[in-house]
C-alpha cells in the first residue's frame, strides 16, 4: 500500500495460469491482518518449496534436489518488495508478543533466501520479468520505459493489428493496464480503493454490509492484478520459445545445489538470516559475486554469438581469419625443458582493444591458453600474433587438429570462464585479529522478534 514501508495489500500467486490464488488485506494498516496475509501466503509458498524437494540425485558428496523453487515477479520493485516482506517476517516468533504461526517466520527465511540468491549472477531463483525480457530483446524505448512490463511486452509481442510502439503507448494507460505493482495506481487508490476500505472499516463484523465490502474489495483488486497475471504468463511463453543456452543447465544446477544446501540448513539449524552481513561474510560474498559475474558473462558469450558480438564491439574479443601458423615452434621453458608453443597470426577487422600480454581463449578450444605476443595495426585490419599453450596432446608435436590452421575463422575473447582469479581468503575460523578475529555466529535477539510491526 502506498505510503507504507511494506504493507501488503494483495497478491496473486500460483504455478498454473488458470488457477491463481488471490490474497488480499481489507485493511493494510492493521497489523494482525498483515500477519494473516503472511500466513496465507506462507501456505502457498511453502507448499511450492516442498514440492521441489521430492526427488534428488547425488552430486559428489551432496544430495541435490532435482528441482528448485523459482519466483517470477513483474519488475525490480516487486523483487525489492519480496525481500522486504522476507525481512519483516523472518524474525517473528510463535510465542511472546505478537505470536504468529511457525510458517510465517519460515516464509520470511525463504523469501529472504530467494532475494539473496537472486543477487548471484546467473541465478534464476527470483527474476524480475522486465529484466529477463530486456536481456533478450532490445526495444525502441528507454530503459526507464522498459521497466513497465506491459510496455516492453507490447514491443516484443504486440496484439494482432497493432505495432510495437503503439502497444507500448497503450500499455501506459493505467485504466487498460493497471501498474504491475508493487504500488497501485494513485487514481485507483483515491477513487476505488479508499472508499472500498472505508466501507469495510465502517461496517459491523459479519454484517451483510461487511460481506458486500469484502466482495467489492476482492473484485476491484482482482481487476487490478489479473491483467498483470496474464502478462506474466505471456512473458513466460515468449521466453520459453527461445532455445536454452548450452550453459543454462550448469547455472540451474548451481541454483539447485544452493537450494538443497539452504534446505538442509533450515532443517539442521534454522536461524534467520542476520539483519546485516558481518564483515567476513560480506567479504566472502563479494568475492563470490565477482567470480560468478565473470563466469556468467563469459559463459553467456559462449552460448550466444550476439552476446559475443557485444564483446567484439567493445574490443574485449575479436573474430578473424588465421593467416599464418608456426605449428611446431618449441621454446625453452622456465625449467630448461623444450616445450611446444605454436604461434598463430589472426587478421581481424574488429576494433580490438586488448594489449600485448593479454590472456585470451577461443570458445571453440577453451582448454588451450593463448597469449597475445604482438599486435600490428594495418590500414583496415589488425594482425594479432598469439602464442598457444596446452591442449595439444602429450607428444612433442601437437596432435592433429589441436592447433588452428590457416584460413580458419576463429574468435578469441578476454572474457572466459576462469579469467577471474583472486587469492583465497583464510578459513573463517582463522580470520586474523586485524580483521576482528573469527566472527561470532549471528544469534537473533529478543529485540528482533519484538520489533513493532504497525
Amino acid at each position: 500500500m502506498a505510503g507504507e514501508a511494506n504493507a501488503p495489500l494483495a497478491a496473486m500467486i500460483g504455478s498454473d495460469v488458470a488457477h491463481p490464488t488471490l490474497l488480499f488485506v481489507p485493511q493494510p494498516r492493521n497489523r494482525d491482518m498483515r500477519f494473516e496475509f503472511a500466513a496465507s501466503l506462507a501456505e502457498v509458498v511453502l507448499d511450492y518449496v516442498r514440492s521441489r524437494t521430492q526427488r534428488s540425485e547425488v552430486l559428489g558428496n551432496d544430495v541435490v534436489f532435482l528441482e528448485a523453487p523459482q519466483l517470477l515477479v513483474p519488475n525490480r520493485a516487486g523483487a525489492a518488495f519480496v525481500r522486504l516482506l522476507g525481512r519483516s517476517t523472518r524474525f517473528r516468533r510463535t510465542t511472546g508478543l505478537y505470536p504468529v504461526p511457525q510458517r510465517v517466520p519460515t516464509l520470511g527465511r525463504w523469501l529472504t533466501y530467494l532475494a539473496e540468491r537472486s543477487e548471484h549472477p546467473g541465478s534464476a531463483a527470483m527474476l524480475a520479468m522486465t529484466e529477463a525480457l530486456s536481456m533478450h530483446w532490445a526495444s525502441g524505448q528507454s530503459a526507464l520505459e522498459d521497466a513497465n512490463l506491459a510496455a516492453i511486452l507490447g514491443w516484443i509481442d504486440p496484439p494482432d493489428g497493432v505495432t510495437g510502439p503503439e502497444a507500448a503507448i497503450a500499455a501506459e494507460d493505467p485504466l487498460v493496464w493497471p501498474p504491475a505493482g508493487p504500488s497501485t495506481d494513485p487514481s485507483f487508490d483515491n477513487e476505488v480503493l479508499a472508499p472500498a476500505i472505508r466501507a469495510y472499516a465502517d461496517s459491523a463484523p459479519d454484517s451483510p454490509r461487511r460481506m458486500h465490502a469484502l466482495q467489492t474489495l476482492e473484485r476491484e483488486l482482482r481487476g487490478q492484478m489479473e491483467p498483470t497475471w496474464r502478462l506474466m504468463w505471456r512473458a513466460v511463453d515468449v521466453l520459453r520459445a527461445l532455445p536454452p543456452g548450452d550453459t543454462v543447465e550448469q547455472r540451474w544446477t548451481a541454483d539447485r545445489k544452493d537450494f538443497s544446501r539452504y534446505h538442509n540448513y533450515l532443517v539442521m539449524d534454522g536461524r534467520p538470516q542476520a539483519r546485516r552481513d558481518g564483515a567476513v561474510v560480506a567479504a566472502r560474498r563479494l568475492q563470490t559475486l565477482e567470480r560468478e559475474q565473470t563466469l556468467y558473462d563469459a559463459t553467456r558469450a559462449l552460448d550466444d554469438p550476439l552476446v559475443m558480438a557485444n564483446f567484439r564491439v567493445t574490443g574485449e574479443a575479436f573474430e578473424g581469419t588465421v593467416v599464418s601458423v608456426e605449428r611446431d615452434r618449441r621454446v625453452t621453458g622456465e625449467k630448461g625443458r623444450r616445450i611446444t608453443r605454436p604461434l598463430i597470426v589472426v587478421s581481424t577487422g574488429d576494433p580490438m582493444h586488448l594489449a600485448v600480454g593479454a590472456a585470451v581463449r577461443s570458445p571453440a578450444r577453451l582448454g588451450q591458453e593463448a597469449t597475445i605476443v604482438e599486435i600490428r595495426r594495418l590500414a583496415d585490419s589488425t594482425l594479432v600474433t598469439l602464442e598457444l599453450a596446452g591442449g595439444m596432446g602429450r607428444r612433442a608435436a601437437p596432435a592433429p587438429g589441436t592447433v588452428p590452421e590457416e584460413k580458419d575463422d576463429i574468435t578469441y575473447t578476454s572474457a572466459f570462464p576462469d579469467a577471474f582469479r583472486t587469492p583465497d581468503l583464510p578459513p573463517t575460523e582463522l580470520t586474523p585479529w586485524t580483521h576482528g578475529g573469527p566472527p561470532q555466529p549471528y544469534v537473533p535477539t529478543e529485540d528482533d522478534a519484538r520489533e513493532v510491526w504497525e
Binding site: 505510503g3 507504507e4 525481512r87 526507464l144 487508490d189 550476439l306 520489533e451 513493532v452
Partner: protein, 367 residues
C-alpha cells in the same frame, strides 16, 4: 528582474494566477537545466499540469491519498506535544544538551496567510534568532530563492532548528529506514530538497556559516511509526545546486528571444475550459525548445508531450544513448551512418565509426 521581463512573463502566463514553485520543483529544475521550455513555463508560473492536459498529453503522476495521509500523520506525530519527540531525537543525533526549546509557528501571521506577509515575518524571526542565539524551532517558515532571475517562494514543511548560533534544517519524511538503510533514490531526493532549504536560509541570513550543511532527516524506523533521525551531509548537493542555479539560462535572455505575442494563456471561458484551442497552445509550445530525456517522465508535467515531439530522436532512448551517439540527433541518422548511406560530419565521426563497427559485427552474426 527588469520590468520588461516581468511584463513578458505575465503575458506568457496570461490572465490566470501564477503557479508556485516548491523545493521539489526547484530540485527537479536542477536535474534538467538545459530545458528552455521548462525554464520559461516555470518562470512564467504557467500551470503545466493543466497545459499538458489541454494539449492532450496529461501527466501521469498523481499522489495516492494513502501516501499523503501517512506523511501527514507521521509529521504530526513527530511534532506532537510541543515537538517532544523531535527534541529527544535531536538531542541524540546532534549530541546536544537541551531541556527547553521555544517554538515559533510561521504558518500564518495573525490570520494573514499572504506569501509576502509570511515571508517578512519569517525573515524577522529568523534573523532575530540569529542575533539572540536561543534554541527555537521554526515551524513552516516561508523562504525565497532566486531561480533563474525569478523569485520563488518556498513553502517547506520543514522545521528550522536554531541552537548555539547555528541553524539546522530538519526534514520529516515518511519513507522507512530499515536496518539503517533507506531507499537510495528517496534519500537523494530528500537531500536535494533539503539543500534547497539550506541555500534559501543562508541567502536569507546572508551568512553561510549560520546554517549547517548537515541536515537532519527524520524517518520512520523499520516497519514501525517510531521516528529515527539521521544526519545527512548535503555539501555535494549544495555545490551542484548553486552551480546549476548560477548557470540556469538567464530568464531575461530566454524570454527576450521568444516571439513578442507568444502566450500560454489558459484563462477559462464560460464553460470552464481554456478558451484557446489545443492546436494554438501546441503551436505556442513549439516556439520554446525542450530538452527531453526519459527522466522527465517522472519529474515534469510536460514530459509526455515532449516525448511525442521528440519521437525518432536518439534522446528518447536515454541519456547514455544520447551521449554515446554524440552529434547524432535522430534514429534515422544513426541507421544511415551505420549502413554507410550517410556521410558523417566532423562532429559525428567518432559516433559514426562506432555505429559502423557495431552494424558490421552484429550484422555478421545475425546473417
Amino acid at each position: 528582474m527588469d520590468n520588461d521581463t516581468s511584463e513578458r512573463l505575465r503575458r506568457l502566463r496570461g490572465a490566470v494566477p501564477a503557479k508556485r514553485h516548491n523545493a521539489r520543483t526547484v530540485a527537479a529544475l536542477t536535474g534538467n537545466p538545459g530545458c528552455a521550455r521548462r525554464a520559461v513555463l516555470d518562470a512564467a508560473g504557467v500551470d503545466k499540469e493543466q497545459l499538458a492536459r489541454h494539449v492532450g498529453f496529461p501527466a501521469k503522476f498523481g499522489q495516492s491519498q494513502f501516501a499523503i495521509t501517512r506523511g501527514n500523520a507521521f509529521e504530526a506525530q513527530v511534532k506532537a506535544n510541543a515537538f517532544a519527540e523531535l527534541i529527544r531525537l535531536l538531542r541524540e543525533t546532534l549530541e546536544l544538551e537541551l531541556n527547553e526549546v521555544g517554538q515559533t509557528d510561521l504558518e500564518e501571521v495573525g490570520g494573514n496567510t499572504s506569501q509576502e506577509m509570511r515571508h517578512i515575518r519569517s525573515r524577522q524571526k529568523l534573523t532575530g534568532a540569529a542575533a539572540d542565539g536561543e534554541s527555537t524551532f521554526f515551524d513552516h517558515p516561508l523562504l525565497t530563492l532566486d531561480v533563474g532571475g525569478n523569485t520563488v517562494y518556498l513553502e517547506p514543511d520543514l522545521v528550522a532548528f536554531h541552537h548555539n548560533g547555528k541553524f539546522h534544517v530538519v526534514e520529516i519524511k515518511s519513507f522507512a529506514v530499515i536496518d539503517d538503510q533507506a531507499d537510495g533514490g528517496k534519500v537523494a531526493a530528500a537531500a536535494t530538497q533539503s539543500a534547497v532549504y539550506v541555500l534559501a536560509l543562508r541567502r536569507l541570513l546572508g551568512d553561510d556559516d549560520a546554517v549547517s550543511d548537515e541536515v537532519v532527516l527524520v524517518c520512520p524506523k523499520d516497519f514501525s511509526n517510531q521516528p529515527v533521525a539521521t544526519k545527512v551531509d548535503v555539501r555535494k548537493q549544495l555545490i551542484v545546486l548553486q552551480h546549476q542555479l548560477s548557470r540556469l539560462s538567464r530568464i531575461e535572455k530566454l524570454v527576450g528571444e521568444l516571439p513578442p505575442a507568444l502566450t500560454f494563456d489558459l484563462a477559462a471561458g464560460d464553460d470552464g475550459k481554456p478558451t484557446r484551442s489545443a492546436a494554438a497552445l501546441t503551436a505556442a509550445l513549439a516556439e520554446v525548445e525542450a530538452r527531453y530525456a526519459p527522466d522527465c517522465l517522472a519529474k515534469c508535467e510536460m514530459a509526455f508531450f515532449c516525448r511525442k515531439e521528440a519521437s525518432g530522436c536518439t534522446a528518447t532512448l536515454g541519456i547514455n544513448v544520447r551521449e554515446e551517439l554524440g552529434g547524432v540527433e535522430t534514429v534515422a541518422e544513426a541507421l544511415g551512418l551505420a549502413d554507410g548511406s550517410l556521410i558523417a560530419s566532423d562532429s559525428q565521426a567518432e559516433a559514426a565509426a562506432m555505429l559502423r563497427t557495431t552494424a558490421e559485427i552484429y550484422g555478421s552474426v545475425t546473417a
